[in-house]
């Protein structure tokens, strides 16, 4: 027979995801804002990268013949890919920044942090591809390749090259920020999932030390063993204020679909009171 005492222990046994309410809450949004600015600047600087130069090709008599050469980013497919990828990444960062603040109202299953983390990973990989292709094309443009007889173009189009390298550096910074955002999100996901009791698809070959059964659990109103506490009125005892209950132990068993926990108490009656069988709950009192 479990009886409730007058005072209650604080309820600490709930399966609750601890809400992180500290300044760490602002870390990921700030990083995302910085990454958004970095990728956005990389996109814009590379997309507006253009330089025109007129050079004198030949001289006929006294009339110089000029040729106009333009260097645009569309001439190189690597830079086109770079622009597309960085535009995609900046849009992604902006959207995730917005989702960061409003997802709690729409999500019922906890899928949103998982979706954010996987989209982050995909964007990190794609941006790394874009930035490395652009970096190697830039290196080719700066140094040329003597074996293939490809002349360098950076000595003629210096502004174009400088703008391009600035955009690549900005994209590298954005990539670093996005990698750190991804890592932090994955670490937080791991902490979240470690505190949730999973269903039977968990691998139970090795004990999971983070599982709640390995840690002492307290239910509301649970007493420490051997503790004495005053009783409420129970049939058969008489005046309940003179009796005290002593915690004896806990029995818990698990059925196919249910789980029961029984708290067992000893009843310490003062001298002279003989319990009387009143409500049919017990068969006999010896």
């Amino acid at each position: 027979m479990a009886s409730e005492g007058v005072e209650k222990l604080p309820e600490v046994g709930h399966e609750q995801v601890p809400v992180v309410r500290s300044k760490v809450d602002w870390l990921v949004p700030v990083l995302r804002l910085l990454a958004f600015f970095a990728t956005l600047s990389a996109t814009l600087v590379m997309a507006l990268n253009k330089e025109t130069k007129t050079i004198v090709v030949a001289t006929i008599g006294t009339v110089p013949i000029q040729a106009t050469l333009t260097a645009k980013f569309q001439h190189t497919p690597a830079f086109v890919f770079f622009v597309i990828v960085n535009g995609n990444a900046s849009l992604h960062n902006l959207l995730m920044l917005v989702v960061n603040f409003v997802w709690k109202k729409f999500d019922s299953k906890g899928l949103v942090p998982l979706a954010i983390a996987s989209l982050d990973l995909m964007n990190v990989v794609i941006v790394s591809g874009g930035v490395s292709a652009a970096a190697f094309m830039g290196q080719l443009g700066r140094d040329g390749n003597s074996h293939a007889r490809w002349n360098k173009i950076c000595d003629k189009f210096e502004t174009y090259c400088n703008h391009g390298s600035g955009a690549i550096i900005a994209s590298f910074i954005g990539l670093t920020l996005m990698i750190s955002i991804s890592t932090i999100s994955l670490v937080r996901l791991r902490n979240t999932y470690n505190k949730i009791v999973l269903n039977s698809s968990v691998d139970r070959s090795q004990p999971n030390p983070d599982h709640p059964t390995h840690q002492p659990k307290r239910f509301p109103g649970q007493r420490r063993p051997g503790e004495e506490f005053p009783c409420r009125r129970r049939p058969g005892i008489g005046d309940p204020r003179t009796a005290t209950g002593i915690t004896a132990g806990v029995v818990s068993y698990m059925d196919i679909d249910s789980r029961e926990v029984l708290f067992c108490y000893d009843l310490k009656l003062p001298e002279g009171i003989i319990p009387v069988k009143e409500d049919g709950e017990v068969e006999a009192l010896n």
Partner: protein, 162 residues
Amino acid sequence: MIFSKRFAVFVLRFLALGASISATAIMITSRETVEVLNIKFEAKYTNTPTFVYFVLMNAIASGYSLILLFFPAKNKFGHFILVLDLIMVLLLDSSISACLAIGQVAKKGNSHAGWLPICGQVHKFCDHAAIAVAAGFVASILYFIIVLYSIHNVMNLFTLKN
């Protein structure tokens, strides 16, 4: 069930190891000497730093896979292995992207910069390098699948709370 999981990831890592080793080997042995008008024209993978980067990344990835073949599937280094797997995917993917950019210039040239395509003269080298890049592409896909498996290992992400 546990044995089959370990076997599956072992086979995956073995395949990824094979793909990255073959990419490295094929790129290293791609070499062609062509005589054009009495001028010896030699094409090696060291001519462009992009292919050197590709060889380096695939060598690192195959060394990493070789070491990890002898690790059990679920151990306490799960998170560390996941981070390393992610880094490998990033590196491999960037090396392939750069090789494709350089290869496109080599095949089609860039008329605006005055760069002529060289694949017409050294077409065997070009094909060799293309096969190596294809093997690297397969390796990067396999490493990506390994990353998915590592994430599932570490976080049980694909069993959702109901």
